[in-house]
């Protein structure tokens, strides 16, 4: 896999490149800002671009801006946004009307080779990846609400994995359930949470759209 990196902190960028190289991933570009990254990958786009959320000049959402620009210019490229903070508002912009080849990972989990490579692999395949800590924080934030309390423990687990971007098959594999059972849980969750999705209950194929629906439900306080 070929990867480009944009990260303003030199010391972390270097450590990240070393880690990626060690894991057998080819790093084609290591840039210090979103602008630089866009310029350097223009000729030869990588499979996935890893961008830091907070970069100069404003340290607000440069990562998301650069990521959306990359996705628009290079169809087929994957974007994984990194953030040091488990705080959603700007990062969630990335997923707006973009249910494919995007991911949001906390920097803490980047230091773990397996979760980094797993996320990169999934983004390259076209999935949506959301850091489990981000999802659990969102779910945690809503845990006192009535609708969420109607879910069973198993359904809660399925909901969180759905929100992280896993497909029905992925969920089944992690929870040791059959694809059929997972689908039943998904349907039950959607009914209980009153999540509506165009074209009937979401199946395994539109798992990415499903992520958005779940995320939207989790984040929106005023939907009901």
């Amino acid at each position: 896999m070929r990867v480009a990196v944009a990260e303003d902190s030199g010391i972390f960028r270097q450590a990240l490149v070393t880690l990626l190289t060690t894991a057998g991933i080819e790093v084609t570009v290591a840039a210090g800002s979103g602008e630089e990254l866009l310029a350097l990958v223009a000729e030869d786009p990588p499979d996935v671009a890893i961008v830091d959320l907070h970069m100069p000049p404003t340290h607000t959402n440069e990562g998301v801006v650069a990521g959306r620009a990359l996705l628009a210019r290079h169809p087929g490229i994957g974007v994984l946004v990194l953030s040091a903070y488990n705080e959603t508002p700007q990062a969630m912009e990335l997923f707006r009307d973009q249910p494919r080849r995007v991911g949001y990972l906390l920097k803490d989990h980047v230091t773990d080779v397996e979760s980094l490579c797993g996320a990169l692999e999934r983004v390259r395949r076209g999935e949506v990846v959301i850091d489990p800590d981000v999802v659990s924080r969102l779910v945690e934030a809503r845990h006192r609400e009535r609708e969420l309390s109607r879910l069973s423990g198993r359904e809660r687990e399925v909901l969180e994995l759905m929100a992280e971007g896993h497909s029905n098959a992925g969920i089944g594999k992690r929870l040791h359930l059959s694809a059929r059972t997972v689908e039943d849980h998904v349907r039950a969750i959607f009914t209980k949470l009153k999540i509506t999705s165009s074209g009937g209950p979401p199946g395994p194929q539109d798992s990415n759209k499903r992520v958005l629906a779940v995320l939207t439900w989790l984040r929106a306080a005023e939907t009901r």
């Binding site: 902190s9 010391i11 972390f12 450590a15 990240l16 880690l19 607000t60 924080r137 306080a221």
Partner: protein
Amino acid sequence: MVVVISAPRRRRSPPWFGQETRRALAAGLAVAALAYAAGWPYWRGHHAAAALTLAGTGGIAVVGALLATGARTRRTGLLFLAASLFWAVNWLASWNAGPGPLLSPYAQADFYLALAVGVLLYPAGRLEYVADRIWTVAACVVLWGCPTALWITSRPAWAAFRGRHVWWPAPFPDHAAFRAVLEVSAALYIGLALSFAVVLLLRLPRMSRMRRVVTLPVTVALAFVGISAALTQRPIMEESISLDALLRVYAVQGAVSALIPLALLASGLRTRLAELAVAGRMLRLTAPVSVERIRDALRDVLQDPTLELWFWAPAEQVYVDTAGRPAAVDAGGAAPGDEAPGDPSGDAGRWRRRVETAAGEPLAIVELGGALRDHGSLVEAALEAGGRALETARLQSNVQAGLEQVRSAYGRLLRAEAVERERLARDLHDGAQQRLLALGAMLGTLEALATDAEVKEHARKCRTELMAALAELRALAREVQPALLVQDGLGPALEVVAERLGTRVLLDVTAERYSREIESTLYSVLCEALSYAVDRARATRVTVRVRPDGHLLVAEVSDDGERPGGEPGALPDGLAGRIRALRGHLEIDGEPARGTTVRMVLPCE
């Protein structure tokens, strides 16, 4: 140029018996004695007329001497004094010999002329209006012309003087001409009296209300005296009347003139009563004392809504306004105690008065409308009555000024703190955190590279420990200053807090950005209010609204929780203090059972 005059002084002797009063009484006695000597032949047979005339003449002299001591009434006083002398001289006619009969008509005319002009000169010390000047000129012509025509065209016997030694030139005695002179003179006198009444009436509307109240009795008395003089003069404007008839008319006119000192006395009493009333009202209106209340009381009793008041703050050596803010008030070049009434260089008619304590220290400056210049004693009475309240209010305003200083110092501290927090949070975020994350990635690399299972395990453990340390560092950084607050403002920062709290929190927060200290303070206070509502009051629904309202920023936290034991407070004192330091205020309403709304209002630019 402002006029600064003295502070209210405590009077040491009764105001009505000073050196001036003694002198005035002496002048009155002297003039009465003169009148007694001048009218001696007549008084022998007419005791009642003598008493009345002497009292009236002496009274006018006393009033004149008293008025002459006031700076604004000096000319009026001198003219009244002259009038009383003229009236005394008038009685020389009773000797029926020498120059007396010739002087008498002039003295009588000048008596009225001096009285009338004296009143017209009050209180400006000059003839202010065109009507006044025209009347004065006409009166001089008539009142000097008619007596002159009298001796030119008559023999003394025709004019009631049949004595043998009367000094009377009579260059062109002619019966027909003399009768014509008498007819014309009588008509002119009546015209003069009526026009004088009109001139007096014309002056009234141009006066301020207070001045009108004081001058009205004198005006009415004078108009009456003038008209009655002209009417009583009429019967003696006949040929060959007796001297006795002439002198009887003089006695009546003198008695009527006694009305003038009486009217002035009434005005003086009225002024004194107004001063007493002002003092009483000041004492009533200033309790309980406050800076604004004193100013409002002074505005009220002096009927001057433009009145302004500044207090001396001794510590800062400046004058401060009623809100405690330093004001650039020019104390003026005039020394304390210096009085300059009617100074034409006054600042657009405004009048500034310096008020001092009994010890002679500056206390306050009062600025009044120029119309109050004529009521110095009234102003003095009001300031004297309010003197104690002024001193209390001065102390109060000093405390206010001190508080203001503390508040602005606290505000500066908050600003410095916000800057420092921001710097610290940035250091933690950009420096320490990135370094630790890089260390984590290196440990990850080591873990991936290590072939030895034990090394791999140690590297993993190190990384886990490191991540725990990072989490603590982040929590610390968030405490210091959430990165989001600096980057995106209150809305996004509160969103994260709301997500962490978990209760259904509705956020309606403006996207506007505000100064560091406002955002930082509001963030801390809103976090505190939110966590109180959720953790202590067990609210299930909390609404946070932050909206600009003109030059104010209004933040509200409403919840449906219950306050245990009906405690209304939802904020620690320190946070409320921070709101006040930014010149904002805090309101808490609601009932323990029905939820609570905490509202913070901050001024913002």
